[in-house]
């Protein structure tokens, strides 16, 4: 995957003379001290991140953490004070107004927290707006706007006014308005935060669905950690204008960078986020069908196990033998003793789907890839440990 957006050393300082503040920042003064001395507020401090093409990058933080400011720097709705923002290798920060407008018109769609629809325009008039201002002829822009409305399931409402629509529907219009220009990048500023929980969940699923078809590069702002973990491929956590950690949802959960993040993630429903892959272990012992029963028995004795997985060439999982079967049939061929109906999971199976399996069997769950290659095992104790938040 190539890099779509690259933000380096980005600062936003609010106030008349930001230059003065840089010196103070270099001296290591805190945000509060700087405000007390200069009345300048630091919106974003030294942000660095990359967003790959087709990725959903979530910027997550509480209110006042600077996440919305950071998002608005990407399309320069807020002028950054220092730093570079490359979109497809072009620096947004140093670009002329006219070039910037072109980028906004063609590459970036934006969705807002309170929808920010144009109340004097019909639904389709809203969706057409981006095409209208870049001079697309009316028949074509109507066609494209209708297509965008179809994507969000609102084509029947094309000629209504936004005020006649519910909140969820209004935000669909907002999404359609952003999609109509067929942008590479979607900037979503707390897009679902104003919706009630059920509608929010529906919109999240719909966004993920759409993303499966469209493969846009999405930068998504939220203050809701569950939302971040659900839709984010990568998550950046912000606090006081600084990015404190960037990682996949699992990395954030399993390896919080500091106590702030740790505290943040402690109440999360881990079973939805953690996958079999993240809690599996390397099997301590493996045998092949060529090994005889005696070898199998010795390995189990050595490791103190009551069963052991059997793999063929290329580590393809064949099944499992138990110590009881082996002891009672020491003269038989090992391949006759293999139990093939072992519980299996894939590397991306959420832990919540393992509960049922684990409750029905005493043996570990085998984690395999699509070809049946054994990648690791999940012992029942690992599932419990993961849920408890330990490692």
């Amino acid at each position: 995957m190539e890099c779509k957006i690259k933000v380096s050393n980005l600062y936003k300082i609010f106030g008349p003379t930001p230059e003065k503040v840089f010196a103070l920042l270099e001296q290591g003064l805190s945000k509060n001290d700087i405000f007390a001395q200069t009345k300048h507020t630091i919106g974003v401090e030294d942000a660095n991140f990359e967003v790959k093409t087709g990725q959903i990058f979530v910027i997550m933080g509480l209110s006042g953490s600077g996440k919305s400011t950071l998002l608005r720097c990407i399309n320069r709705l807020i002028e950054p004070s220092r730093g570079t923002i490359l979109i497809d290798g072009e620096d947004i920060v140093s670009m002329s107004e006219a070039d910037l407008r072109e980028i906004r018109r063609k590459k970036i769609g934006m969705v807002f927290q309170n929808f920010a629809l144009f109340p004097h325009r019909t639904v389709i008039g809203n969706v057409e707006y981006g095409l209208e201002i870049r001079g697309t002829p009316p028949p074509e822009r109507r066609k494209r706007a209708l297509k965008a409305l179809e994507l969000v399931g609102l084509e029947r409402w094309a000629d209504s006014y936004p005020s006649n629509l519910s909140g969820g529907m209004q935000q669909r219009v907002g999404l359609a308005r952003a999609l109509a220009i067929d942008p590479d990048i979607l900037l979503m500023d707390e897009a679902f935060s104003a919706l009630d929980p059920l509608i929010r969940k529906e919109m999240q699923d719909e966004l993920l669905n759409l993303q499966n078809k469209m493969h846009k590069t999405i930068v998504f702002i939220t203050h809701d950690l569950d939302e971040a973990l659900k839709i984010g491929d990568k998550i950046a956590i912000m606090r006081d204008g600084k990015i404190v950690q960037i990682g996949t949802p699992e990395e954030i959960l399993t390896n919080p960078a500091n106590s702030y993040v740790a505290e943040f993630v402690q109440d999360v429903d881990r079973s939805k986020v953690l996958t079999a892959g993240s809690i599996m272990k390397k099997p301590e012992a493996l045998i092949t069908p060529k090994d005889g029963p005696h070898v199998a028995l010795r390995k189990m004795e050595e490791m103190g196990l009551s069963s052991v997985f059997v793999v063929g060439p290329d580590r393809r999982l064949q099944g499992l033998v138990t110590v009881d079967d082996v002891v009672n049939n020491l003269h038989k061929d090992l391949s006759d003793l293999i139990r093939t109906n072992v519980p299996r999971a894939y590397i991306d199976t959420p832990v919540k789907d393992l509960f049922q399996v684990a409750s029905e069997t005493k043996i570990p769950i085998a984690v395999v890839d699509r070809d049946g290659t054994l990648l690791g095992i999940v012992a029942r104790v690992s599932i419990l440990a993961a849920m408890a938040g330990g490692k």
């Binding site: 934006m110 004097h120 201002i133």
Partner: protein, 282 residues
């Protein structure tokens, strides 16, 4: 002994200077206003009164509703029967021209002051001054520059009636939610596109309220302006006062009121946005 600031005489000096040195400007304005008002008056009096009444009633019906059309029919018939038709049309022409000039100057100034804090700060005291200065005072310089007659009347009316057009245009644009403007920017709108596609359409109801105010103030100024010979209904009212003709004064006063209600209702409906009408509102 007391010292008196010579404000009044300074003002006089400035005006005398302008009168001596910028006469050609005033002459040009005078010619322009005079010809446009004559044309409009001729136009309004082109058709016989009954046909004109039908046209005005249809306009009321089209822009507002049946009730207001009925009101217009009754009022204009009444005016006709009082023998004040010609004066009413003269006043109507006066108001239309004064309002038009007020809007042509006022709306751009309103847009400017909505976009610039400096302009807003600069205009505010001037507008306060224009609105609170007793209306009679405008008559003096108007007469000095433009002589007695309708042109002076219109100039005085414009000064008096323009402030609400400026203020409400500015207010309407400033009231457009910042996030909506931000959304328009995010999609790559130029400042002009934001103005014409977002801000002005959304400010339209407020701007139309300003237009409505502008018309109403023009109408109230028309009677005062009759003192410098602007004629029309105001002239009749003045005649009623000076010659102690109570009946004439009442009748022409009533005609002013009826014209005012007609213009007010019709322009109010002009201000109600399309959206409200589509929703079955208003």
């Amino acid at each position: 002994m007391s010292y008196r600031l010579p404000l009044g005489s300074a003002f006089e000096w400035v005006f005398n200077w302008l009168d001596d040195n910028a006469d050609w400007i005033f002459e040009a304005i005078k010619v322009f206003i005079k010809s446009s008002i004559s044309t409009l008056e001729d136009g309004l009096l082109l058709f016989p009164a009954p046909i004109m009444i039908v046209i005005l009633v249809l306009i009321a019906w089209k822009l507002a509703n049946r009730r207001i059309a009925a009101f217009a029919l009754v009022s204009f018939m009444l005016i006709l029967s009082m023998g004040l038709w010609e004066e009413t049309m003269m006043t109507f022409a006066l108001i239309l021209i004064a309002t038009l000039i007020s809007l042509i100057i006022g709306i751009p100034l309103g847009i400017w002051s909505a976009r610039s804090e400096r302009m807003e700060a600069f205009l505010r005291p001037i507008l306060d001054f224009m609105q609170t200065m007793p209306a009679f005072v405008y008559l003096i310089p108007a007469v000095m520059f433009f002589g007695m007659g309708r042109v002076s009347g219109i100039v005085a009316t414009v000064i008096f009636a323009m402030p609400p057009a400026i203020r409400l245009t500015s207010l309407g644009i400033r009231q457009v939610p910042a996030e909506v403007v931000e959304a328009a920017r995010a999609f790559g709108s130029t400042p002009n596109q934001i103005l014409f596609k977002i801000q002005l359409p959304m400010a339209l109801p407020t701007i139309m309220a300003g237009v409505n105010q502008c018309i109403m103030l023009s109408l109230s100024m028309v009677v005062i302006a009759s003192m410098i010979g602007s004629g029309g209904l105001g002239g009749e009212v003045l005649r009623g006062i000076t010659q102690f003709k109570i009946g004439l004064g009442f009748e022409s006063g009533l005609a002013v009121v009826l014209l005012a209600i007609f213009l007010d209702r019709v322009t109010q409906y002009l201000g109600a946005s399309k959206k409200l009408r589509n929703n079955g509102g208003v």
